[in-house]
């Protein structure tokens, strides 16, 4: 479920407040629209969002501990255990003990897993590019600047 926008539409306040709410709702809608399309893509490949996130992180960053994965995809430790369990059942990843720290398990892509995610990512990127191409180059740059300004001043942490 995604945040609702009815309250925003119904709000009456100063012109500045309305503009702020209005900008927020539009920002969220644009993002959600795109994210929904990407998600359909992921589901089409028989993966959940969490599974996709893990595979992608491993693909781009190499083997990682579960702890690190939890931070990367912003999910609870318990959930990571479950996602890895399921990915392991499909032999897309495998657990290995860390040589440095006996508490830690390192997650690696199997060849199957690597092949699979490697095939999905290009199409995924193409979708994003195609959707953002509603904007001109100048507009993309400006959108980025504005979003950064909003994001930075409200930041919680910098993943990635």
């Amino acid at each position: 479920m995604e945040a609702l926008f009815i309250m925003v539409a119904k709000h009456s306040g100063t012109s500045q407040e309305i503009k702020a709410l209005d900008a927020y709702i539009t920002l969220r809608r644009a993002g959600n629209t795109i994210a929904a399309k990407l998600n359909r893509d992921i589901i089409g490949h028989k993966l959940t969002a969490g599974q996709f996130g893990i595979l992608e992180a491993l693909f781009h960053l190499g083997p990682l501990s579960q702890q690190t994965l939890a931070k990367k995809i912003l999910s609870s430790k318990g959930n990571i255990t479950m996602i890895i369990d399921n990915l392991e059942k499909q032999t897309l990843v495998k657990r290995t003990a860390s040589p440095d720290d006996r508490r830690t398990t390192i997650i690696q892509l199997t060849p199957t897993g690597k092949k699979m995610i490697g095939k999905i990512i290009p199409g995924h990127l193409k979708k994003i590019i195609s959707m953002m191409s509603a904007l001109t180059l100048t507009e993309m740059t400006e959108l980025k600047r504005l979003c950064k300004k909003v994001g930075l001043s409200n930041q919680l942490e910098k993943t990635l």
Copy 2:
């Protein structure tokens, strides 16, 4: 879990492609940062996002059928049944039969529910406004225009 951005950062392509991906990732991050804060607010009130969405819709739009609620908060019918069950247990909403159609149940806020959501919403709006106020008025307007342009050309459906 939220879409991962590592792939975007790692992508090498034409300058236009990189700008498109870059704009997307920043857009998503800004939105997610704000949404995460709002979500913490909701959890702080002992509500799930779905419960909050339902209460808010009922507050602003009056009694609605479960079908309508499902569309409003973009959730499955089955899930709505469950959310309403839980809200009913806490006596925040109640089910009533529709006089027009015997298949339909109409969901209404109880006085308790109305009081509760009515108390939460103003703070919620204030949070959004405060976070968006990183931007000037002109910037808000421009952000809205750009997001609308992206959103519209990729639209699935118009809720609300």
